[in-house]
């Protein structure tokens, strides 16, 4: 009874200069380490990089004041912003930048960004406010990558391995961002307060509270209860929000493409005709409407619409057309037998096992939709649902997969050489197309946006003829925010959090 009596009193509306957001796990607050999404998000706030995303395809200086690129495009010289201090008051210098990249380039350090920056040959510091990067070859995504996950960490805060700095990583990180950690309670929350010495425009909020809420339904409930101000949700969770007038849902295009990948080491997937036929045979609009509740864009190639001018908007839409699909299958030597199954000349049926990771309703439902639609034209698909870790480790890495439903989540740059270039490190589908190779190489090597645009548009045209994967959709991120919260750039949450000093609550409060 006393407990119930307590229930009614003491509720205190937090001041509207505090933003409350949710992540699903305890973060490791050390930008180069960031092993999970929760860590990635909070580190965007605490640890700025040399650059940051401007809009969907531009990048702007952050800790850098300016930069120069040599004529051979392999030497980048950054003039650091003078007068920047770490949250503990120490001066930020070129030594910190070099230290951070030394960690990133050392596979033993425990950072996970080596593949982003393996293009770096060396980093030098001519003086305390100048950093030079020497690249092995010209590399267009470099600036975007500097503004992606490569937040700079303070050299003076570490002795030994940065992964062993538990105190720093868990409760007392030191960055240069607009908000600094004031309090961290394991499993509960991290309180960030505005950094009065921030190098950019002064933060408009006084605090950001990052709560750890592992369950998505609980996040929805906390939004409804007025205990969170900003979360990103899956389409399936939207209905739970009802039509709360205090909340707004923004749909933001993000640089992701979801697809069914076919292992092209297996002969029957090697034929471009077969991959085109499979694409035509799947009703992707139905998946977008049914599974994604409309919050996704119809796909063209592997470069999503979020990449703005690099997306080839003028290419003809690849429709859902089972007749055309069967014609292509026939051309490739697969015809429907008595039992309705597609068979080759020797009588072997066309079928495969589709791997999908467990636990995400959108992906599991999309896999079932693909299975049903392909069955309708005589392709038998067996779905094998497993944990993501097992899918990657036991199937994709040893190339034991036939087909899998997966996605890439990229920086805001169209470079996909490592994903779809012949024999490249992330080309898990073993796609190989000479023309695509040379276009992707040209696109990543040129710093001229016009040259890049032409290369990537042509690459998407090549993909229409020889699709590397069966594109399903480009998801839009569903950002649910309190209606009074403003100042977020129209970017995915990962990139938007590089701009938290601009966030504010409009008058009217809660």
């Amino acid at each position: 009874m006393t407990l119930l009596a307590l229930a009614g009193c003491g509720r205190q509306a937090p001041p509207s200069d505090t933003l409350r957001l949710a992540i699903i796990n305890d973060p490791i607050m050390n930008a180069p380490l960031s092993p999970d999404i929760g860590s990635v998000l909070i580190n965007k706030i605490i640890f700025p990089g040399l650059m940051r995303p401007g809009d969907s395809t531009t990048t702007e200086p952050d800790l850098a004041a300016s930069f120069e690129v040599s004529t051979n495009e392999r030497e980048y010289t950054f003039a650091l912003r003078p007068g920047v201090v770490w949250h503990d008051g120490t001066a930020f210098t070129s030594r910190d930048v070099k230290f951070t990249f030394d960690q990133i380039l050392d596979p033993k350090s425990g950072t996970l960004q080596w593949s982003d920056f393996s293009i770096i040959d060396s980093v030098t510091t001519p003086d305390s406010l100048t950093v030079k990067f020497w690249l092995r070859s010209p590399f267009a995504p470099f600036l975007t990558l500097l503004g992606h996950n490569a937040g700079i960490i303070p050299a003076h805060a570490f002795q030994g391995r940065i992964a062993d700095a538990v105190e720093f990583n868990r409760s007392r990180p030191i960055g240069t961002g607009p908000f600094q950690v004031a309090e961290s309670v394991a499993g509960s929350y991290v309180v960030l307060r505005a950094n009065p010495r921030y190098h950019g425009s002064p933060p408009r909020l006084s605090r950001i509270i990052v709560k750890i809420v592992p369950d998505v339904n609980a996040q929805v409930a906390q939004m409804l209860a007025g205990e969170l101000d900003l979360v990103t949700l899956e389409p399936a969770n939207l209905s739970g929000l009802g039509n709360d007038p205090d909340l707004r849902v923004d749909q933001v295009s993000v640089p992701q493409h979801y697809y069914v990948g076919f292992n092209q080491g297996i002969p029957r997937f090697r034929s471009p005709l077969v991959r085109r036929a499979l694409t035509l045979a799947v009703d992707r609009q139905a998946i977008i409407d049914g599974v994604m509740k409309g919050s996704a864009d119809y796909p063209q190639g592997t470069i999503p619409v979020a990449l703005g001018e690099y997306y080839a908007a003028d290419l003809p839409r690849i429709p859902y057309d089972t007749t055309a699909a069967l014609a292509l299958f026939a051309e490739a030597g697969w015809r429907r037998g008595q039992d309705g199954l597609l068979r080759d000349a020797s009588g072997q049926a066309f079928g495969f096992t589709l791997l999908v990771d467990k636990g995400n309703p959108s992906r599991e439902q999309a896999a079932v939709a693909v299975q049903q639609q392909l069955r309708a034209i005589g392709v038998s698909v067996t779905i094998n649902t497993m944990e993501f870790a097992s899918l990657v480790r036991d199937y994709v890495v040893p190339r034991r997969h036939e087909a899998y439903l997966i996605w890439w989540n990229t920086p805001l740059d169209p470079d996909q050489f490592s994903y779809y270039g012949t024999a490249q490190s992330n080309n898990d589908v073993l796609y190989s197309n000479r023309r695509a190779d040379s276009l992707l190489a040209r696109g990543r090597a040129s710093l001229d946006p016009a040259v890049r645009r032409a290369a990537y548009h042509e690459f998407q045209a090549v993909e229409a003829e020889d699709p590397p994967v069966l594109l399903l959709y480009y998801p839009r991120e569903l950002q649910v925010r309190r209606a009074t919260l403003h100042g977020l750039p129209a970017l995915g949450i990962r990139d938007a959090l590089r701009h938290t000093e601009k966030f504010y609550f409009a008058a009217g409060g809660r």
């Binding site: 490791i28 369950d215 870790a389």
Partner: protein
């Protein structure tokens, strides 16, 4: 008495060893691997570096012996996910779980004892039937459902209680605030537990009332209430304690779901994260701490049982 204590301690150690061994076998037999290795972008070099750092490049036998060897020095290794010493991580969460579980247990006992005594005196009566239906419902509905409905009504719609967490973040420590956060999760845990205890108590009371030693007590002219407390409750206490003992592991396990729904920073939730992420050292540490908690709790209940029933004390 001392011999008995030593015997129980040895038994407890054996249980702990069996639990850690079973956990080790199960977690490695489960498909999948550590989530820290799940990034498809990892290069083979990075993958190998991580495996060697985590000791995953050794054979399972070596990993098993190493773990138990380090246990003797009190070192349970570092969590893969948290990159912190596991024992400290788990022990940091243990008080939160104990607070939740103990509160739920106390609430459940406070509900179960009067209700159980009342229905046990008139089994088959109208009150017994009503309680039976309520009980059945409470046991049949999964706790997370209660949790979500409770949050949606009390937190989201009426806004009388917080939706989750242990305290309002960024506010100075405040007892009222802590209690408000405790109400919903503790109630969700206590409800099915109370139902379970009422069932045990009802049957025990009914059986005692039929037992032969009561008519003499009545004949001695003892009042009804005295009979109830001195004879009936005392006799029914033993099955109640046994029932609580059986519930403790379930309670700690059930707390995992409740803790997740209410974003309660407890050990159960940590265990779920550890198991899903195949964080082997963390899973092992949690198994050990949970098993130790249960062993200690049962030991305590045993002592209580000895107090409640002198026959148990003298048996050994």
């Amino acid at each position: 008495m001392i011999r008995r204590l030593v015997g129980r301690a040895a038994q407890g150690l054996l249980v702990l060893w069996a639990v850690t061994t079973a956990t080790f076998v199960l977690i490695h037999a489960a498909p999948g691997g550590p989530a820290v290795l799940a990034d498809p972008k990892l290069s083979p070099v990075e993958r190998a570096a991580i495996e060697s750092r985590l000791g995953l490049d050794r054979s399972l036998g070596v990993q098993y012996l190493r773990w138990h060897g380090r246990l003797l020095t009190g070192d349970l290794g570092d969590s893969f996910l948290y990159q912190t010493p596991t024992l400290a991580t788990v022990l940091g969460r243990l008080p939160n779980t104990l607070l939740l579980v103990t509160t739920a247990l106390v609430v459940a006992i406070l509900i179960a004892v009067p209700v159980g005594l009342a229905v046990g005196q008139r089994p088959g009566g109208p009150f017994d039937r009503i309680v039976g239906v309520v009980n059945f419902t409470a046991l049949a509905i999964p706790p997370f459902w209660f949790g979500i409905v409770g949050i949606l009504l009390l937190a989201a719609r009426w806004r009388v209680l917080p939706a989750g967490g242990m305290m309002t973040p960024g506010m100075p420590a405040d007892l009222v605030d802590r209690l408000r956060h405790l109400v919903l999760p503790a109630a969700v845990l206590a409800l099915p537990l109370a139902a379970e205890l009422i069932r045990y108590l009802r049957n025990a009371v009914a059986a005692t009332l039929e037992a032969s030693h009561l008519p003499p007590a009545r004949a001695r002219g003892l009042a009804g209430s005295a009979i109830l407390t001195r004879h009936v409750l005392r006799n029914a206490l033993l099955p109640l304690l046994t029932a609580i003992g059986l519930q403790v592991p379930l309670l700690v396990g059930g707390a995992a779901v409740t803790e997740t729904v209410f974003a309660w920073p407890g050990m159960g939730r940590l265990g779920v994260e550890a198991a899903l992420g195949r964080d082997y050292p963390l899973v092992m540490a949690i198994a050990l701490v949970v098993a130790a908690t249960v062993v200690v709790a049962n030991f305590g209940l045993d002592l209580l049982a000895g107090w409640a029933d002198p026959r148990i004390r003298s048996r050994r």
